[in-house]
């Protein structure tokens, strides 16, 4: 007889565990490095550096929720970033460069989806291949060079996408540093949350991640929805690319590589299941906060660089194990039963076993 747990508190509040972890970590860093974490500047910095990661991780939430994986988004950051940078700088196309950059990301994502859905190659292999292809294209087309977007802050593109809206109008220093891409990211991610939880498309993605077979027999066009998911990822990666390139006022030939593992890790520690079928945008966002904050926090607390990786790995492992037990009631019950029996004296346990065997 299945356990009648109904709806546990975990399910009622989305992403509650990761939010608790985030708050605890924040408090720890505030305690260890108050001069950094009790001042607003580190937070305004995060607001300017985290948006690309959050956009990528949000897109990945849909992909992983649909039971797939996308490894090609770092190369979309390079490729779309290049398309945008070169059109913005060399051809002075302004907003047209933005449109072209987004279109290039959508194209790459769409092609990914096409190969995965119609040709049928597993997403891991497909995106591994396209990752190399598009990164190579970016290098070939750019000649390996970086593009400095000198004077970009004069343009309306820069001001609207990554500008500092309060720069001239206030004396409060940290307010001056607030960057607007945080707002755009919040809006986009909020919209994505609505889609995932309340829209048909989000439901389809989760069902596909749950089981392709079930999805087919209940009437979901699995191929079409998969293509949509990957196209969405391409679009978001292009957004991240443009924000990153504008914020740095620079296109680096190899930009994006560092985001591969951090984006995936953010999604997984946020509570989205790697097996598909369960996804949370809110968890992903807090996962990004944690991943983005850990390094700065540890450095400010005085732990040397080597510790950063260790702590990130620890957080990752602990989260994954936690979600595994939260997800599978049988394993959880088995674990608690084992713990309980360990607590009793060995003799009693033996006699219980003896009783069962009879």
């Amino acid at each position: 007889m299945a356990q009648r747990s109904g709806v546990s508190i975990l399910q009622r509040f989305e992403a509650l565990p990761i939010i608790i972890v985030f708050v605890l970590l924040l408090l720890l860093f505030m305690y260890r490095a108050p001069e950094v974490f009790l001042a607003p500047y580190i937070y305004t910095t995060f607001l300017s550096t985290l948006p690309p990661l959050i956009l990528l991780a949000a897109g990945l939430t849909f992909v992983i929720g649909a039971g797939e994986i996308d490894l090609s988004f770092p190369s979309i950051i390079a490729f779309s970033g290049f398309v945008f940078a070169v059109l913005f700088k060399e051809y002075d196309l302004g907003w047209l460069a933005v449109v072209a950059g987004l279109a290039s990301g959508i194209l790459v994502g769409f092609l990914n989806g096409l190969i995965i859905a119609k040709v049928g190659i597993p997403s891991f292999m497909t995106t591994l291949g396209t990752q190399f292809f598009w990164a190579g294209m970016a290098t070939v087309l750019s000649g390996g060079k970086s593009y400095a977007l000198r004077g970009a802050e004069e343009s309306s593109v820069w001001r609207w996408i990554v500008g500092r809206p309060f720069a001239g109008s206030t004396d409060i220093v940290w307010l001056q540093q607030l960057s607007i891409q945080a707002l755009w990211t919040a809006i986009i991610v909020g919209f994505l949350w609505l889609i995932l939880t309340r829209h048909r498309f989000g439901e389809h993605a989760l069902f596909i991640g749950d089981s392709n077979d079930v999805s087919r027999v209940v009437g979901i066009d699995v191929d079409r929805e998969k293509i949509k998911v990957f196209t969405l990822m391409g679009f978001l990666a292009a957004c991240a690319a443009i924000i990153l390139t504008l914020e740095n006022k620079n296109f680096f030939g190899n930009q994006g590589q560092g985001y591969l593992l951090t984006a995936i890790a953010s999604v997984l520690i946020g509570g989205t299941s790697i097996f598909g079928g369960r996804a949370t945008i809110l968890g992903t966002v807090f996962g990004c906060f944690i991943i983005g904050m850990v390094e700065a926090g540890l450095v400010a607390s005085g732990l040397t660089g080597a510790w950063v990786r260790t702590v990130q790995g620890l957080i990752f492992l602990v989260s994954i194990i936690f979600y595994l037990y939260a997800d599978e009631p049988q394993r959880r019950r088995a674990l608690f039963a084992n713990l309980r029996s360990l607590g009793k004296f060995g003799a009693i346990r033996t006699s219980e076993e003896g009783g069962v065997r009879r």
């Binding site: 605890l24 006022k249 590589q257 005085g302 936690f322």
Partner: protein, 334 residues
């Protein structure tokens, strides 16, 4: 579960702090080191313990201990965007000094550095120059501790030529030509070899190989096998230099078949020098690149001195001169 781990970590750290405080209080009273109370963020470059990073870490640590500076090390796997993000985080922490590297380029850094300097933070540089920024912010303490990149490449090439390369020989230079300032060292190497009449093939280091050089070994071995007449390989990447002995072995070459010129003194480079696989390596005194910026920090933050330039590319180490240095290299100093 995570909460408990955090609590334990917090307790551990608290204990550590208390112990240090106790020791400091019990230690014999002496004049405070001149850098006491200063906080400095420093960009180390690669990954902790890397060939081109270890000696820098050691130099910076020892300088910080000697001067009493609270040093916070940042590692970026040589990725320019990471360096920029880490600089922003450093600025947000409002330290007294920050040391950066030139990989992202002066343009990318300019506004951020200006912001930091305006807030009263001393910004200095190392390993890879930012000439424009040095000119602009020099009076506020922007110095440089590193090799004059182009000249360093020239020096290395000259040492290679001295090993008996002739006009018309084939050579390959493996480097990060794409990065504006950092690529100058490879450029100097390649140009000098070309001036001496060699045919030079330029190969670009990919970002993956840049952070993990073992990935380049098969690539280089394949290149060598595809070019049987190759007489010289030059590089100005510390990690690549360290892999050269392995590369030659895998390509079936004996030490001395190809003249190899490199940079830095990673432990595997020592072996390379000893066996003769590596013919000459530019010693950019990574220890000094770590030590000096900390000194610069104290001098500028406390005594308002302007930024100074220290050219650490002073000489070349060859198989003949390596033995004397082995112990120091193992200790992570040279």
């Amino acid at each position: 579960m995570k909460g408990e781990t955090n609590m334990r970590l917090a307790h551990f750290l608290l204990a550590g702090v208390a112990t240090t405080g106790l020791v400091a209080a019990v230690a014999p009273a002496s004049a405070d080191p001149i850098g006491k109370g200063l906080v400095m963020y420093m960009q180390m470059g690669g990954n902790p313990g890397d060939g081109a990073t270890l000696a820098r870490q050691t130099g910076a640590k020892e300088a910080a201990e000697a001067l009493g500076v609270d040093l916070k090390s940042q590692f970026s796997a040589w990725a320019p965007e990471t360096m920029i993000n880490q600089f922003k985080e450093a600025v947000a922490a409002k330290p007294n000094c920050i040391e950066i590297m030139g990989h992202p380029g002066s343009t990318a850094f300019h506004d951020l550095v200006k912001q930091a300097v305006d807030q009263g933070i001393v910004v200095t540089s190392g390993n890879s120059p930012l000439t424009d920024l040095q000119n602009e912010f020099g009076p506020k303490g922007f110095g440089y501790a590193g090799v004059d990149l182009y000249a360093g490449g020239v020096l290395t090439a000259k040492a290679m030529l001295a090993q008996g390369l002739k006009s018309g020989d084939q050579a390959m230079v493996y480097g990060v030509f794409s990065q504006a300032e950092r690529g100058q060292s490879e450029k100097g190497l390649a140009d000098t070899l070309e001036k001496a009449g060699l045919k030079v093939d330029r190969l670009e280091i990919t970002q993956e190989a840049n952070s993990d050089m073992s990935l380049a070994v098969p690539v280089l071995a394949a290149y060598i096998q595809a070019h049987p007449n190759l007489k010289a390989i030059g590089t100005q990447h510390g990690g690549a230099t360290g892999e050269m002995q392995q590369v030659l072995e895998k390509a079936g070459k004996k030490p001395g078949d190809i003249v190899v010129g490199g940079i830095d003194l990673a432990p595997s480079t020592i072996d390379g020098l000893k066996s003769g696989a590596v013919s000459a390596t530019l010693d950019q005194l990574l220890y000094m690149q770590g030590f000096f910026p900390v000194v610069q920090c104290v001098m500028s933050a406390k005594y308002k001195m302007p930024g100074l330039s220290l050219n650490t590319g002073a000489g070349v180490v060859t198989p003949k001169t390596i033995d004397a240095l082995t112990k120091l290299i193992d200790a992570g100093i040279r």
